[in-house]
Amino acid sequence: MELVVSDLTVARGGVPVLSGVSFRMGAGEVALLRGPNGSGKTTLLRTLAGLQPALDGKVSLPPEEIAYAAHADGLKATLTVAENLSFWASVYGTGAIDGALERFRLSELARRPAQNLSAGQKRRLGLARLLVTGRKVWLLDEPTVSLDSASVGIFAAAARAHLDAGGLALIATHIDLGFEAREIDVTAFRATARQGGAFDEAFA
């Protein structure tokens, strides 16, 4: 299992944000995506996840190998924690959800509707979904938002276990997750402004 990204150009709203993005990750590796707000971290992750087309370049793994977790957790407020999770488990054809509930300390909340969860608990449920996807490559967009430090620890432990099982993870984050990881600074790949912009010329 290896993720090789070569010379990737990604765009947001048709405007190239990052270009020449190249890196390589092997099994058991984790990399942190760094960069200020608006620098293209989410755009890069969405492109890798296959949610938007790349302008140029190659990704070695098809989106079918990848589990993506966005800012939004995709929870249904009227379904219980267990129902939300079993829905994803059956979509991915993995079945058992007990392990995921246990790992993110959600077992006691299993019968509670998702609308009655706190923001941090919702986030933990959103992250628990990753475990039931059974996929090796995790692309995480700010996974620790609204988590307290204990929950960040739970998440870090889950990520560690995932890596030890031969998975790999690319995580966009602003905080220290407490494990040694390579950092990929997206500002290094910032796309240069388009040449000869017709729009500007019209007003020159």
Partner: protein, 93 residues
């Protein structure tokens, strides 16, 4: 696919509003039209089928904007798009 269908049905039953509202609207249209048209049996028997269809269509219109909007808002549409279900199937459900 079946999981998705079950989830949507469960949501429809539990969420209140959407499903019940459409059904109630349909019944109201079907009941009110005869009052408006008057008790002429000949006219009513001619328009009956039409009223049923138009009522059903209008009732569908009520929930039309909710087909994908909710999934889009809470982010589950993105997650479904990355899941191993064909998007055409998601649309069909």
């Amino acid at each position: 696919m079946i999981a998705l269908l079950l989830r949507d049905l469960r949501l429809a039953i539990r969420a209140g509003g959407g499903f019940g509202l459409a059904l109630a609207f349909f019944l109201i249209v079907v009941t009110l039209v005869p009052f408006g048209v008057g008790p002429d049996e000949a006219v009513l028997s001619v328009i009956a089928a039409g009223i049923l269809w138009v009522g059903a269509l209008l009732a569908c219109l009520l929930s039309l904007d909710r087909i994908f909007a909710l999934d889009w808002e809470d982010g589950s549409l993105d997650l479904l798009a990355t899941a191993p279900v064909p998007l055409e199937g998601v649309v069909a459900v």
